[in-house]
Point group: C2
Chain length 212, copies 2
């Protein structure tokens, strides 16, 4: 069982290692990783040891070996089809940009309670058009397409009701952008996204580190 | 000098402590904090000791004392006026939701290169209307309103050019939503936001922890 804090760092390691790999860098040690992504070097070493990825003294880690290792751990190998529920400003921004920097995630459809939204022509960065359905078709479409992960971008007052519909439709994971804590059974996983966390950190740095 | 990893956890501590305070909880110890926000208890104690906030053995930490302490550290006391550049889907979603859960941040204006965007009537959650100006007025309006922090929500191909305009206009911090790494002088701070990091972690949990 990997500690949650370690699991949350995983995508950041994966993202960083893929940029190294793209740049043709073959080897890296934990203090270089620590310097670049600002986790303590001891944390990096401890995290990597959970995954059994051990560096060689004096050599460090092999980048492409680590990358293929992490991509398995992060299940990059299979394509994860995802649905967006709430095709408003935020929903459309996500559907247009469709996680294009991540090869294993694709938003394949959207749902909305407003019939007018079904006529929106959304084309993602790969040039593929993404259909929008009425939310009453949620259970049937999620089943038919074997979709187990949804992004929640509905207004605050609809968030819990829509969550209950998603749970009833067999969803396993929800990326929650609404500002409330949604309640789900223990078999469903929720990851909250708070766009303000980055802003607080930014303000803190601007105020305290005039010139880093 | 506080380590960057500690500074990035600050807003999460602050957010969590404010929900405790709202719920009338007076005391908390590091392992309860660790359980709730899933950082290791040793990390919590170490972080708090950087700020000189020391718990009393057997008593733990006083929630309201910690909260007022953190709010100073995070400079919650002064209102930070922020501008959005790029009033498209993502920019509008941010301007409408205007960090309403955070008392010290307010988006006060938006800028766009498209003249049509100036007629958009954007009202935030506090019922205040947020004006949109043409991007050629950027330097003049930022100076007049003493705005030193901007949110970048323009398309990838315009990101660096707009960044250069912001730097020339005296901006000190940029919350970057565009997918590219923007280049700035060392006196300007950039915090990148990647909405996909949460999704990778979610998928990892759904695949590996069927029932947590
Ligand atoms: N986490 C953050 O920092 C952050 C930032 C911006 C927005 N948000 C949140 O994201 C959510 C969406 O914001 P937005 O600006 O895109 O809002 P929006 O009003 O533009 O879009 C919401 C959409 O949800 C649809 N909808 C309403 N009820 C529904 C239901 N029962 N079933 C299906 N669809 C339904 C609406 O028709 C609309 O299209 C809000 O909850 C907002 O608070 C969070
Ligand atoms: N980080 C993530 O995970 C994530 C998720 C969604 C969107 N995005 C990014 O956010 C950005 C905005 O996405 P969107 O869906 O809102 O795009 P959009 O096309 O809806 O909006 C972009 C806006 O920028 C304006 N603009 C273009 N050039 C400009 C310039 N030179 N000066 C000022 N304004 C200019 C356009 O007129 C438009 O209103 C994109 O870079 C996108 O890749 C990132």
């Amino acid at each position: 069982q990997i500690p949650r804090a370690t699991a949350q760092r995983l995508p950041i390691y994966y993202y960083y290692l893929s940029t190294l790999n793209d740049a043709g860098i073959k080897r890296i040690n934990s203090s270089e990783i620590s310097e670049a992504i600002k986790f303590d070097a001891a944390t990096v070493r401890r995290d990597f040891s959970y995954f059994g990825a051990l560096g060689k003294r004096g050599f460090g880690y092999d980048v492409s070996a680590l990358l293929s290792f992490f991509s398995k751990v992060l299940s990059q190998d299979k394509l994860n089809k995802v649905a967006v529920v709430g095709v408003g400003n935020l929903g459309q921004a996500l559907m247009k940009n469709n996680f294009s920097h991540t090869s294993n995630i694709e938003i394949v459809m959207g749902f909305d309670a407003d019939d007018d939204k079904r006529s929106i022509k959304l084309v993602n960065e790969m040039g593929k058009s993404v259909p929008v359905y009425h939310v009453k078709e949620l259970a049937e479409r999620l089943h038919a397409n074997n979709i187990t992960i949804a992004i929640l971008t509905v207004p605050e007052k609809a968030a819990q009701e829509v969550t209950d519909q998603l749970v009833a439709a067999g969803i396993k994971g929800i990326l929650n952008f609404s500002p409330i804590r949604i309640t789900v059974p223990s078999s469903v996983r929720v990851q909250n996204v708070d766009l303000t966390t980055g802003m607080q950190t930014l303000i803190y740095f601007v105020d305290n580190f005039k010139n880093i």
